[in-house]
């Protein structure tokens, strides 16, 4: 069949770019490999290699451009475009749908490598050939992930330009494709609404730049081993490593901020496998950067520096494997589907791991030897210890996160424990304690050796000051967890000691202050994490009805409050009212007002929050939190259960109809409840003015006097019990203000009890939501720390670049 209006040409162009990018990356790698050996042809090999890498770079840019044009023009004949975009999607999300898919995110990664490679071509000088040979090889491997060709029945890569929707195996035999004009009727599946926010625009490129930067220390380390220039590689790799620390750190914190702002995990960090997968390489990268620093002048711990630089890059590949292979399955909220490329990823991982380890084993014996051991009073010793602590810390995280991998390898059936977060927190706390302590004292040690007296004299003031401040903080915060309080102290100590170092030792010279400022930032991040996590308070206790504890011991989970529309309930220090819902597209917003009592005891409105339920057509319903930020705390709320019907019962056509009656047998003084009022039976009387009710003289009439009270007003209702010609005659008494209908249906003359039936208007049935609310105290310290850390890191990178 001939299909009409398909744009197959652009796919062919894109595919040519894919092939060019792969071929020239490979060619560049090989040429650089030969250029790295000194012989008479070095210069010409280098020329070929350089040009090849530039062609490769242009091809990658070509791929990116072509894919953009396809997304922009809604060419839904391509599976990738159909899968990740739609006509209705606003253009500002075009970047997001570009990297929503696996192919797009590999492309983003490759794209950053191109820029890094182009800079290295100019800056690496004598290291250019070996370093670029590795970078180009990585590019060839990543490029092959887009090839989408079959080699011996195995598909290599997934190519967005060659997979046409109508040829996709999942969609075979769809009648739409019997139609030559099918494109006219086709719209894309669209970008997942959960990802339609600005975080999806800024988080992935930052994170992938961080990932991409780890290739530089790796390539330098391999080059150093390969060319037996065991300590020369360190100086040029150093700024790259710190740049990676800064960018990847910002990327991870952005992920945390995204989770906190827009997803309802109930916090900014959940030790989710995907979060861990990016945290662990960051920890080893921090270790790498600091080891490079100490080996720059005195190459004492080269083995560790090489090992960590190699490990970090391999961990990036491992993380990619974990998150992209689908092996995490149930254990992660970030569900990525397998595109059948996990085998390919594993091969690359083992290739680079083996390359690094083999080179390390061959060269290890030839490392320069030092007769003298470094002094215990030297900066390099403690920085080395710090790097090792980070390594052990990341090992613990990775080992637990990899549980699904162990299950698969050893046929186990281990499931993650229920409270994973506490387990990780308890394990990581000592590491965080040692790390922050080392950050505090580290700079007060000098390289080689420190005079103990000088050290003690300089550290005494910040130490005592920190002790006082942290004890004051513990009292102010009512901080009773002993285990956490050691970290509280060490974090305060780290911040104060570095601030003191900045002012007293380097005398406020901003150019030298990068490390101090970055360390202050990190200490504040730890402090913010510690306080906001350990003093996090669930304020949405169930204040409305029966206690949950009655159900038994361990399962009290009363973290949810039920808010009925219009009622005002206490929650934490607020009084809260659920006002009603608003509907905007696929979002249902639940408006909740927060009040406090003023001096007179009157309610004063403080703020409103509108947590959202997104009726997501791709993932089901997703709750999105709404948070009120204050300087010293945040109120974070999300809906855990709500009626999602989009018609508001208050406006429905049925609102004036009455529900089925509810009958109660009452003695004098007894009461019966309606959903909005209490009805009290006061008295009976037979003295009724019959003419008023158009009754006949022979009719028997008894009147009940009822008091109907809602929160504000009380009404009198007087329903009648009428016997007309030996028949009970119906009579309804209405309280229109409350939407109630009352009927006197039975009289028991023996004991004076009466049966009263109550009917309510349907509009009385009020909407309700079940909500969770948490208070995160001092979470702003975390975000402030993140910004300070970024500034400090950039300062130190600028300073290092000046020295190179």
């Amino acid at each position: 069949m001939e299909y009409l209006n398909e744009h197959l040409g652009i796919g062919k162009i894109g595919n040519i770019f894919v092939i060019l990018s792969f071929v020239f990356a490979l060619l560049s790698s090989i040429s650089y490999f030969f250029a790295a050996r000194i012989n008479e042809n070095t210069a010409s090999w280098k020329r070929i290699a350089r040009i090849s890498f530039r062609i490769h770079g242009l091809s990658v840019i070509g791929i990116v451009g072509t894919l953009f044009v396809m997304l922009y023009s809604h060419y839904f004949e391509y599976e990738y475009v159909w899968h990740h975009s739609s006509k209705a999607m606003p253009m500002r999300y075009i970047l997001s749908c570009f990297w929503e898919g696996q192919e797009g995110s590999f492309l983003l990664w490759t794209f950053w490598h191109v820029f890094i490679g182009l800079i290295l071509q100019r800056s690496a000088k004598t290291f250019e050939a070996p370093v670029m040979s590795i970078v180009a090889l990585v590019q060839a491997f990543l490029g092959s992930m887009l090839l989408g060709i079959f080699v011996f029945e195995h598909r290599i890569g997934s190519n967005p330009f060659t997979v046409l929707l109508r040829n996709h195996p999942d969609f075979a035999n769809i009648p739409l494709f019997q139609n030559a004009h099918y494109l006219e009727k086709l719209d894309g599946r669209g970008l997942n609404p959960l990802l339609q926010n600005y975080w999806m625009t800024i988080h992935p490129p930052t994170l992938f730049l961080g990932f991409a930067l780890t290739v530089v220390p790796f390539a330098y380390a391999i080059a150093g081993l390969w060319q037996k220039r065991y300590s020369e590689w360190i100086k040029p790799a150093l700024p790259w490593a710190f740049f990676g620390v800064a960018v990847l750190g910002i990327g991870i914190l952005m992920g945390g901020a995204w989770a906190y702002e827009a997803l309802s995990f109930g916090g900014f960090w959940a030790w989710d496998p995907v979060e861990n997968a990016s945290l662990v390489p960051w920890l080893t990268l921090v270790g790498t950067a600091h080891l490079l620093l100490i080996n720059k002048t005195n190459a004492q711990s080269l083995l560790a520096a090489f090992f960590l630089a190699i490990l970090t890059f391999v961990l990036i590949l491992y993380s990619t494997f974990l998150t992209r292979s689908g092996i995490l399955g149930d254990s992660s909220v970030h569900a990525f589907t397998d595109l059948g490329m996990s085998g390919q990823l594993l091969i690359y991982l083992f290739f680079f791991l083996a390359l690094g380890i083999v080179l390390l084993i061959i060269n290890w014996k030839h490392f320069p030897k030092h007769a003298e051991e470094e002094s215990i009073w030297s900066r390099e010793f403690w920085m080395f210890v710090g790097a090792i602590v980070l390594l052990v810390s990341s090992f613990q995280i990775m080992f637990y996160t990899s549980m699904p991998v162990w299950n698969k390898l050893f046929d186990l059936h281990k499931a993650p424990a229920k409270d994973v977060i506490t387990f990780y927190n308890n394990w990581q706390l000592p590491f965080a304690f040692i790390t922050t302590l080392l950050i505090a004292v580290g700079q007060y040690f000098k390289y080689k050796n420190t005079e103990l007296k000088w050290f003690l004299k300089k550290i005494a003031v910040p130490f005592i000051l920190s002790l006082v401040i942290s004890i004051a903080l513990m009292f102010a915060l009512n901080f009773d967890q002993a285990y956490f309080s050691i970290l509280l102290f060490s974090s305060v100590f780290a911040a104060i000691a570095n601030a003191n170092y900045f002012v007293m030792v380097i005398k406020g010279k901003i150019r030298k202050a990068g490390a101090s400022i970055a360390h202050i930032g990190f200490a504040l991040v730890m402090l913010g994490v510690l306080i906001s996590t350990s003093k996090k308070e669930i304020i949405s206790r169930n204040t409305s009805s029966k206690s949950v504890e009655s159900l038994g011991e361990t399962f009290s989970n009363d973290a949810n409050i039920i808010l009925t529309q219009g009622d005002t309930l206490p929650m934490g220090k607020y009084m809260v009212t659920y006002k009603g819902k608003r509907i905007e597209g696929i979002h249902i917003m639940y408006d909740v007002d927060y009040f406090t009592r003023d001096d007179k005891g009157d309610l004063k409105k403080e703020f409103s929050l509108a947590p959202v339920v997104q009726t997501n057509p791709m993932m089901g319903n997703v709750a999105e939190p709404d948070t009120r930020h204050f300087a010293s705390f945040d109120v974070y709320t999300h809906v855990t259960y709500a009626d999602l019907s989009t018609s508001n019962p208050m406006n429905g056509a049925e609102k004036d109809e009455y529900d089925a009656p509810k009958t109660g047998t009452l003695s004098r003084g007894d009461s019966i409840y309606a959903s909005n009022a209490v009805i009290i039976f006061d008295s009976l009387t037979t003295k009724v003015d019959k003419t008023l009710y158009h009754l006949e003289e022979n009719d028997i009439v008894v009147q009940a006097h009822l008091t109907v009270m809602d929160l504000k007003t009380s009404y009198q209702a007087k329903p009648l019990y009428i016997i007309h010609e030996n028949m009970v005659q119906p009579y309804e008494e209405k309280v229109d203000a409350l939407g109630l209908k009352l009927m006197f249906v039975k009289l028991n003359p023996q004991n004076g009890k009466v049966d009263i039936a109550v009917q309510e208007k349907k509009s009385n049935k009020r909407d309700f939501i079940v909500m969770q609310a948490l208070v995160f105290p001092y979470i702003n310290i975390l975000w402030l720390g993140a910004i300070i850390m970024a500034i400090g890191s950039l300062l130190s990178i600028v300073e290092r670049l000046r020295k190179v």
Partner: protein, 133 residues
């Protein structure tokens, strides 16, 4: 003995500690029958919601209790009392994992994980109402 050796020994000790505590701090996937044999242990049970039987959630009585019937992967049915709010979209779940202990005839679950079909409306190319040129 060099300092490096001491550090090495400490690292190995911590690493072994990490491995063992990690292996101990796990729950096990099981079915209802296995969970009933060890009522003191916590298990993860994987299965499907029995849609034929009624599930009960009365938030106005208690928002933190939700009762339903589940059939595990071996076909055993059991009443589950989840001590949490009813998850949104519960009925659409393809597969559920409950975490908790067996208590008598009921499984007392403290948490639930759901796997929802990732592609609603079949995720298949469909004709759209609005034609464009």
């Amino acid at each position: 003995m060099k300092k490096v050796h001491i550090i090495g020994i400490v690292i190995i000790a911590i690493a072994i500690g990490a491995i063992f505590t990690t292996l101990n701090n796990t729950s096990t996937y099981a079915d209802f029958k296995e969970a009933a044999k060890e009522p003191s242990n916590e298990f993860h049970v994987v299965g499907k919601l029995n849609k034929a039987k009624e599930s009960v959630y009365e938030p106005l009585v208690d928002a933190n209790v939700f009762k339903f019937y589940m059939v595990d992967n071996k076909g055993t049915e059991c009443k589950v009392v989840l001590h949490k709010n009813k998850p949104q979209d519960f009925e659409r779940s393809e597969q559920i994992v409950i975490i908790g202990k067996m208590k008598g005839e009921e499984f007392q679950a403290s948490d639930i994980l759901m796997k929802c079909p990732s592609k609603y409306n079949d995720g298949k190319p469909q004709e759209t109402a609005n034609k464009t040129n």
